[in-house]
Symmetry: C2
Subunit: 185 residues, 2 copies
Amino acid sequence: MTASGGRPVHEGAGADAAAGDTVAAVVRQWRAVRPGLDTGPMEIIGRINRCAALLQQAEDAPLRRAGLSRPEFDLLGALRRTGHELTPGELARETFSSGAAVTKRLKQLTERGLVERRGDTRDRRVAHVRLTDAGRDLVDGILPEQLAYETAVLSGMDGPRRDELAALLGELLGQLEGRLDALRA
Amino acid sequence: MTASGGRPVHEGAGADAAAGDTVAAVVRQWRAVRPGLDTGPMEIIGRINRCAALLQQAEDAPLRRAGLSRPEFDLLGALRRTGHELTPGELARETFSSGAAVTKRLKQLTERGLVERRGDTRDRRVAHVRLTDAGRDLVDGILPEQLAYETAVLSGMDGPRRDELAALLGELLGQLEGRLDALRA
DNA sequence: AACAGGTGTTTTACTCGTGAAATAAACTCC
DNA sequence: GGAGTTTATTTCACGAGTAAAACACCTGTT
């Protein structure tokens, strides 16, 4: 199959895959050592995890140049894309991180002059966080760079397949999120 | 998390009909605030990162029951699936983590009696690590549970689409891994 | 008005991973 | 057969995240 140049289309549970990616190799090892195991889920979950790890590493490059970690950028991005102030609690939900982590990040970002906080006049427990001009400029400057970089990283795949992949991931994610919300209820 | 990570706060009433997953909503926010940006990569990279986060959370459940973290299980799994001893360096490469992390994990797993080490007779720098019987039994006991759990998590998608998703992820991963090696050279 | 309970945020104590230096042993090549 | 280099592994100092407790404030009830 590698020799014929075709990519494995039906790489189902029983197919002998071309060497391909490292996950395929791992799955092959498991099947050799513990035959009869249903290794199907590995081919999706293992690959997602590995892709995420590699992408994160790759993506870090443009951000690091600006002295930002990815979680920090996510926080700034949440403020930028919603277009209004957010409370620490909302930021935690928005960036899927713990409240404590947000507190720490806000402290640093405030010190760097990228965000500002003000107290709520009615409820003195809550704070409102907004981007400073410097913060907004930073996000606006980085984002196109970031997206261009990501485009380059994905450029090995042609357009239609990228769309197909995005659609399938969207379907999976929608279901995972539904399932998670269900567990939360 | 990614630039596209997060949940929309003010998504307009009634948008949930076509909302899809959270990443789609985030992308919509970006497009509203900064039109003209090519948000294509977010729909893949953002979703992969978010899926990875959710899956990791979900996957942790069966492992935690056994008192193992995922990186620890990966280490044990590498020993189990290769079927032979590995050096710390090989384990680091195999589990995609740093040497220092492997050293720490080995220390803990050794104390728990799950792995053993012996020195190489020829080259006294290198160590060889292998599973103890208890370690092997633990992995063999957990793995089917783990795979069953993962199958359940993915059960919202039907077979053909799962295969298609696995194939596309394999293609992407293969390219990312190639690209990474290229960048390293 | 005062208290009980709930909510938003921060603090605390801890774990874990990382990069860089340290250690130690093996090659190389003159 | 040493001096210098490379390779394998560990140690160290530190940063970042987490869960749980602490804190501060609000709200409903009586």
